[in-house]
């Protein structure tokens, strides 16, 4: 088995279909899809995922399916980190029996690997939970497409970048998503959904805390490596703020779960940064929608004038 597994080769059965982030977000059934834009007027400026949204059923099912495939990739990513790096101080545990990765020299502490194995188990349970919840919500596996950006963040040859990209940025996003879904279950009078989301949320806080702690420990004497990891985390945070899907604004379908992020080891400044990036992404989306609308109005006027 190779060290480092390419995202293009992630193994799936025939029900799954892969798309890129833009295609995924353009699906009109998703939170940020066309329906989210077209129904905004009827909700004023509130776009939060709540049962009263006209498209709530589709949006919630799409989000749950997104959680399901995200959990599969998180499982795969944690598993790869168990496999891809040698253990510091244990000779011959690296790729092909080397003491460390021959190309990068990277190793990880034994305890970090154990945490990643624990995370693999947690993510496996989350796959089980989300596949059952999807079924409960009337969704079939593969009914929505999958984008594999999460696993891409777990493909770095530097384990610290994986911690920053997956455990802090993406699992951080999971905290926001699960909080929103838990509230959705509460408002919709669905204790089954609320119960499950709360359990998964507890695990995600643990995973983010794990990432925060290991990032600090492993880069304790290497400020450059820490900066590189935090920069990577910012890139992933920005990527997953695509379209302003998650922010403090009520215009975003998913809120920023500040309290749980604090529990997971995010500083106030870090939460403020994520909030700013998310709001900027939302503004960017709004301005691009406005631009498209103006352009459409102009084109229509031109056509009417021609007619």
């Amino acid at each position: 088995m190779r060290t480092y597994f390419p995202v293009e080769e992630l193994a799936r059965d025939e029900r799954f279909s892969k798309v890129n982030m833009r295609e995924r977000m353009a699906d009109p059934r998703t939170l940020a899809g066309d329906s989210a834009t077209t129904t905004r007027k009827s909700r004023g400026n509130n776009n939060r995922l709540v049962p009263s949204r006209r498209d709530a059923t589709d949006a919630a099912r799409a989000l749950m399916h997104g959680i399901f495939v995200g959990e599969i990739q998180a499982l795969e990513g944690a598993g790869r980190t168990c496999h891809d790096f040698a253990v510091s101080n244990v000779p011959g545990t690296g790729p092909s029996g080397a003491d460390s990765d021959p190309t990068t020299g990277n190793t990880v502490p034994f305890a970090l690997k154990l945490d990643m194995a624990r995370q693999a188990w947690d993510e496996a349970r989350h796959v089980e939970i989300s596949v059952k919840l999807s079924d409960w919500m009337g969704t079939e596996i593969g009914q929505f497409a999958e984008n594999t950006v999460l696993f891409e963040a777990a493909c770095s040859t530097d384990p610290v970048l994986r911690l920053a990209g997956v455990n802090r940025a993406l699992e951080g996003l999971a905290i926001d998503v699960f909080t929103t879904m838990k509230d959705f279950g509460d408002l919709a009078g669905d204790p089954y959904l609320e119960f499950c989301e709360d359990w998964m949320l507890a695990d995600e806080v643990t995973h983010v805390k794990m990432g925060s702690d290991w990032l600090r420990k492993v880069t304790e004497n290497d400020p450059d490596r820490r900066k590189k990891a935090l920069d990577f985390q910012n890139v992933v945070d920005k990527l997953f703020s695509y379209g302003g899907t998650r922010s403090d604004s009520e215009e975003s379908p998913i809120g920023l779960a500040r309290r749980f992020r604090e529990l997971a080891g995010f500083s106030d400044a870090e939460v403020a940064d994520i909030a700013a990036v998310s709001l900027a992404a939302l503004d960017e989306r709004k301005s691009s929608v406005a631009k498209m609308r103006d352009q459409a109005v102009t084109e229509m006027a031109d056509q009417l004038g021609t007619a």
Binding site: M1, R2, F5, E9, L10, A11, R12, D13, I72, L75, E76, A78, G79, R80, T81, C82, H83, D84, V87, N89, V90, G92, T93, G97, F110, K113, L114, M116, A117, R118, A120, W121, E123, A124, R125, V127, E128, V131, I141, F151
Partner: protein, 228 residues
Amino acid sequence: MADPYKPRAPIAPWDRRELPGLFDVEESARRIGNYTWAEMKLFEALGGWVATVPELDVKMRLGTHCYKHAWHAELWHKRLPELREMNPDRLTEPANDAMVQFVEAMTEPEAPELTIEKLVGVYRVFIPHFVAAYTFHKNNTSQITDAPTIRSLQFILQDEHDDWREGEMLLQSLIETPEEVDRATAHQARLQKLMLQAGGIAGPGSIGMNPTTSASATAGATNRNGGH
């Protein structure tokens, strides 16, 4: 109520545990170092394979079992300093070169069509040998002086049996044709031969016998095994 000052036997009459055991401290530590290495290799392989198997149920089981074997490795790693090995990493090593070859061969399959081979290596060869080595250790070590090892062995054996059963059931559900039976048995035979050379998880003597066919096992390991 009985008189609390009346002398009682220090060992209860129903407690039949014995002091003598086959392993001294050094031998116990050596075996546990081998277990640590083997459990590490197993959880790393299971974790690595998750991304390579298309079957969703298998993917989830591998992720779950990955953690269980990581926990076993952790238990053994923590036990080593209690056996006077203050540098646990020193003893965290394969039993012999043949064991390294076995692990390399077991972890070789990667393609998505090779789920049967992946599962056969783990659930029909590696885990049955863990069960054998652990059972021998549990039944032969001193029941009093080595009680902490026995406690870990009992927890771990429970996991091994559960995982073995789950893996075997997955295999039975995946093998649908006579050709796939052949594939599974051919791969099992290849790995079993390598394991035979290794002499088991802790080398020759893993289950108390010294197979004379063991070719590449070290003489040191043979002399230090529990069969003497």
